[in-house]
């Protein structure tokens, strides 16, 4: 069941040819650690921040004041997170079972050499196990159906499904080209109408929307204000041509997400950006859906000859690394393999070999030990892709961090106020030049 050694070996092999430094052998004890506190933001959208609900600060936020010009207390994040999760708070309408902590402490270390930037993150998980499982396809005796959902979903709230969703560590990077990001950070990207936010979109609204139809999207996700004629209304998308001009001018933010199931399995972090939507870079991600869109059956199952089983059952959850890796332990699904009710196969298949192009830029190594994730994301310097922010020695960037912990997605994360990251330059987080 335990594939960790295999995966780690595979990851190291892959790193070997591409990197100047092996992130596992960097002496992190010599790299300064910046201690950040991330807090639970609930539904504090771009629009709420500019509303009367943001008492005494709506006009200041609208004119572009920074969050920390008011939120400057030494324990601000702890206080805000605790308040929002305390119950009966306008920013969190849902009681999330088992969610106790309104904040998480994050340690960030940074280094760079001639080829890469290395970002090392450490944080404690709420649960006594790593959140490295994701949704499954479960056979109910007749059909394969999705099993496990993020905790904010109604089916989990109602107890009809278990909460199963991967942990994540994310960073948004701005190189100074997105107006307002240096002051208000990730809150520029979070809007009413998005999934699990107030006034959530309807399918009909999305189907009737010119921009989302043009870019072939069927829901509303993060976007930057400049992509809308009215930044507070997701429905007012600018033309595809105007948005292309924004992209060409670099008016987008980088979004790198390390995913404990869908990218960790193959020693990578995904590579995306936020402009008119939360987009993946060009090429192919390291993960893809494992359900056949026509038959709803899995496309792949585990290779019994290699791992000793072709599926698992619910009693085996949280007891191993249940990664389905196309080139390592997967074979095409056999519908006649004697499936029984309760058999489960991952809903996503991962592959380093299939990851291609700009979407495959970022590597990562990670482990979970004694209740703590340690993740090192490796980002090549000087990327020239049109959907990447090129990191350079001497550069200073505005950054925001997010941790998804305990089987949750969308607003259920912990976030930071905006910080700066400098590669050998003065900043909140200073990346050290490696010898």
């Amino acid at each position: 069941m335990d594939q960790r050694a295999l995966i780690l070996g595979f990851s190291m092999l892959a790193f070997g040819s591409a990197m100047a430094a092996d992130p596992a052998s960097i002496d992190w004890g010599k790299i300064p650690a910046t201690k950040l506190t991330l807090f639970y933001p609930g539904q504090s959208s771009y629009e709420w921040l500019r509303s009367e609900g943001h008492k005494g600060a709506s006009s200041e936020t609208a004119r572009g004041d920074s969050c920390v010009s008011c939120h400057d207390d030494a324990k601000e994040e702890q206080r805000q997170g605790a308040k929002i999760l305390r119950g009966n708070h306008p920013l969190e309408p849902t009681t999330i079972a088992g969610k106790k902590n309104g904040h998480v402490d994050l340690s960030v270390q940074a280094a760079f050499d001639a080829k890469n930037a290395y970002l090392r993150y450490q944080w404690k998980t709420q649960n006594p196990f790593p959140g490295n499982e994701h949704q499954y396809l479960r056979f109910d005796g007749k059909e394969w159906k999705v099993y496990g959902f993020p905790k904010l979903d109604k089916v989990v709230q109602e107890g009809k499904q278990p909460g199963i969703y991967e942990d994540r560590m994310s960073i948004i990077i701005d190189d100074g080209k997105v107006p307002g990001f240096a002051k208000q950070g990730c809150w520029l990207t979070c809007h009413d109408g998005q999934r699990d936010m107030p006034k959530q979109f309807t399918k009909e609204e999305v189907a009737a929307n010119a921009l989302l139809t043009a870019i072939k999207k069927n829901d509303v996700r993060k976007y930057l204000p400049d992509t809308r004629t009215n930044p507070s209304d997701w429905k007012t998308g600018k033309s595809v041509e105007d948005i292309a001009k924004l992209k060409e001018a670099g008016a987008f933010v980088e979004l790198i997400q390390w995913r404990a199931h869908r990218s960790h399995a193959v020693g990578m972090a995904d590579d995306g950006y936020v402009l008119e939507w939360r987009l993946a870079d060009a090429g192919k991600d390291m993960f893809s859906g494992n359900a056949d869109s026509k038959t709803h059956q899995p496309k792949f199952m585990w290779d019994e000859k290699k791992v000793g089983y072709k599926s698992i059952t619910a009693d085996q959850l949280r007891k191993g690394d249940h990664f389905l890796i196309r080139e390592q332990n997967a074979v095409p699904f056999d519908p006649n393999a004697g499936w029984k009710e309760g058999d489960m196969i991952p809903d996503y298949v991962t592959s380093r070999e299939d990851a291609k192009g700009s979407a495959a830029d970022n590597n990562a190594i990670a482990n979970w030990k004694d209740g703590m994730w340690t993740v090192v994301v490796v980002r090549p310097l000087g990327l020239a892709n049109s959907d990447d922010k090129a990191l350079k020695a001497g550069g200073v960037y505005n950054v925001g961090f997010a941790v998804h912990d305990d089987n949750i997605t969308t607003r259920g994360h912990f976030v930071s106020y905006v910080k700066t990251l400098g590669l050998g330059a003065k900043a909140d987080i200073q990346a050290v030049k490696l010898p």
């Binding site: 008492k55 005494g56 600060a57 006009s59 200041e60 010009s69 008011c70 939120h71 400057d72 207390d73 206080r79 308040k83």
Partner: protein
């Protein structure tokens, strides 16, 4: 008038008791509880201890109250009435109302604020 030496400790005790009674009431407060209430109500977003933010510093408020001989009752009125306040840019805004009707809690916050 002189007092026998054996009565002097008693006189000192009575004098101390009298002194306690003469100390202004706002001097007695639970600072930690007051600061928690203050920050839980996001008052610190506008009022810093020493520097001006959107609202005046607590130190400046305390000095003004002292100068005008205002007491905690006025401070409580300010935090509970939602009255208009004038900002530096000339605009007027409703002052936030503290999220408690407990007079003891309000009094504790007022005393702590005026102690700056």
């Amino acid at each position: 008038m002189s007092h026998p030496a054996k009565h002097r400790p008693l006189i000192a005790l009575v004098a101390l008791f009298g002194l306690c009674l003469s100390v202004p009431a706002f001097a007695q407060f639970d600072a930690e509880a007051a600061e928690n209430t203050f920050k839980d109500n996001d008052c610190h977003k506008c009022h810093h201890a020493t520097k001006a933010k959107k609202g005046p510093a607590l130190k400046k408020i305390a000095a003004k109250y002292k100068e005008k001989k205002l007491d905690e009752k006025e401070a409580i009125k300010h935090m509970t009435a939602g009255q208009k306040v004038k900002l530096d840019d000339g605009k007027e805004e409703d002052h936030k109302i503290i999220d408690t009707k407990d007079v003891k809690v309000q009094t504790n916050v007022a005393r702590w604020m005026l102690s700056h």
